[in-house]
């Protein structure tokens, strides 16, 4: 397996990548850079509040020299990854996972769209397959992820006429610190042998979704999980 180093399809593009504190997301950012994009890496904390999210998007446009045309959104609060029996979940945790994840996604969509309006653009939401399969003791997390996955579909439907596409990239559960393996969510092992490498295996899928080649694709969820979750 080799990195697609000859792919310069994102040359001249400006990208914001959220949730960049996660190794998976850093790998996706690396792949975008390898394809020629200028990338601003933003942490989950930075897009949590509206004001700091605004500052992050403004800074990206100012320092990278133009409007943001690509947003890879993977921000999620760390507490979301904690496994917990549902009857032990309290209001503070529900707020910290569900509300914080959703409001960050809404900030990111609105701020990204402001810069893409009239020019077109690409949103890629990172939504692990676990939200589609469900998982015991991860109710708040899976609820929040499925929330942003459908937020992406609605945004895709509204902003299609503006040349803005919104798609989801669904990695295997191994890429997140949730203690779940692919084999736990399917009777079959990963067809391609494993969850893959963030930069080398998932990266090219992110580059595709961020580039011109995916212009006819919107509202889709691409499961790049090594061939586990095959529905639909």
């Amino acid at each position: 397996m080799s990195a697609p180093q000859d792919d310069r399809s994102l040359e001249g593009r400006i990208a914001v990548v959220t949730g960049a504190e996660r190794p998976l997301v850093a790998g996706l950012a690396l792949a975008l850079r390898s394809a020629g994009a200028a990338v601003a890496e933003v942490s989950s904390d930075e897009v949590r509040a509206r004001t700091s999210a605004e500052a992050a998007f403004a800074a990206a446009a100012a320092t990278l020299g133009g409007p943001v045309g690509i947003v890879v959104h993977a921000a999620i609060p760390e507490i979301a990854f904690e496994a917990i029996d549902f009857d032990q979940v309290d209001d503070a945790r529900w707020e910290a996972v569900w509300e914080v994840t959703m409001s960050a996604a809404i900030h990111v969509l609105q701020l990204g769209f402001e810069q893409m309006r009239g020019r077109g653009g690409r949103f890629v939401f990172v939504t692990p397959t676990i939200s589609m399969s469900g998982a015991a003791r991860l109710v708040p997390y899976t609820t929040a992820v499925e929330g942003i996955r459908l937020l992406a579909k609605s945004a895709a439907r509204q902003w299609g006429p503006d040349g803005v596409t919104v798609n989801c990239l669904a990695p295997a559960p191994e890429h997140f610190p949730i203690g779940v393996a692919s084999i736990d969510v399917s009777l079959a092992p990963p067809a391609l042998g494993g969850p893959g490498d963030a930069a080398l295996d998932l990266g090219p899928v992110a580059v595709f979704l961020a580039g011109d080649a995916s212009h006819a694709l919107t509202g889709a969820t691409l499961c790049a999980d090594g061939g586990v979750w095959m529905a639909p």
Binding site: T143, E146, S154, R157
Partner: protein
């Protein structure tokens, strides 16, 4: 029946018209529409039904109409966005009827058309608090009773085809309805060992909300009917309530984590 070969559990299937006799259900948002239809269908199936409505003006007449048919119902005024109010509803239900086996969360507010780039905090709060927080409270507060129901515990969340398809007119509706589906999947995996099934119904039915939407957008009715295999819009009691009654009954005891799309054959993407 001349034998029990191939049967599981206690042997004879329950083919009575009242499969829910002796069980108690709460239906939120039961003052009208789909919730009312489900409340009526569960009561007709033999269950004691609590009509949980935000306002007594809508909830009381539904409960009274059920009682007029010789079935058991009571209205408890409930705000699904409040933990205290939901806890009170569940406490009163068990005090009055002795148990709680079936929790149906249907209440929803926030179907106002909008642009995502102009989404107001108020509209977000309505969607999130009624659909998602309401589901969370329904699940977490009913859990002690559902798990004590000896394998008959049922949590049913009312979602929407929009929660799978996305929505161009009401974009924020889709994520909150999808969140309910994810919750049902994960909870079904977690609560199997407690004998609780967790499922969703995604209905399209002739409700006051839909009738109002038709008034604002006359083309919508034609479009829905044209897209629907059966060529008509569902009846809240006969078409949607009957499916809830099935999910609440022993017959659906092996069905969990699922969404039954109950829309006359329109959305087929599951």
């Amino acid at each position: 029946m001349s034998g029990s070969e191939g049967m599981s559990g206690s042997g004879e299937p329950d083919v009575s018209a009242e499969p829910l006799t002796g069980r108690t259900a709460i239906v939120t948002g039961a003052g009208q529409g789909v919730g009312e239809g489900i409340a009526r269908a569960l009561a007709a199936g033999g269950a004691n039904v609590v009509v949980a409505a935000r306002r007594a003006e809508t909830g009381d007449p539904v409960a009274a109409a059920i009682r007029d048919r010789g079935q058991n119902a009571a209205c408890i005024v409930t705000d699904v966005t409040s933990r205290e109010s939901m806890a009170h509803c569940i406490y009163e239900t068990v005090a009055q009827f002795g148990s709680l086996e079936i929790m149906v969360h249907n209440a929803f507010r926030g179907g106002t058309p909008h642009r995502l780039e102009e989404l107001s905090q108020e509209l977000w709060e309505q969607n999130s608090r009624t659909a998602v927080w309401g589901s969370y409270y329904s699940a977490v507060l009913a859990f002690p009773h559902l798990s004590a129901a000896g394998g008959n515990g049922r949590l049913i969340l009312i979602t929407s085809p929009s929660g799978v398809e996305g929505s161009v007119n009401i974009p924020i509706y889709s994520p909150v309805k999808a969140a309910q589906r994810a919750m049902a999947k994960s909870l079904s995996r977690e609560w199997g060992e407690h004998g609780i099934t967790v499922n969703c119904i995604a209905p399209v039915a002739e409700t006051p909300a839909l009738v109002s939407a038709f008034e604002h957008n006359p083309v919508l009715k034609e479009r829905i009917e044209a897209r629907t295999s059966l060529g008509r819009i569902g009846d809240p009691e006969r078409d949607i309530g009957a499916v809830a009654r099935f999910l609440a009954s022993d017959d659906a005891g092996y069905v969990t984590g699922q969404t039954i799309v109950c829309d006359g054959g329109s959305f087929m993407g599951l």
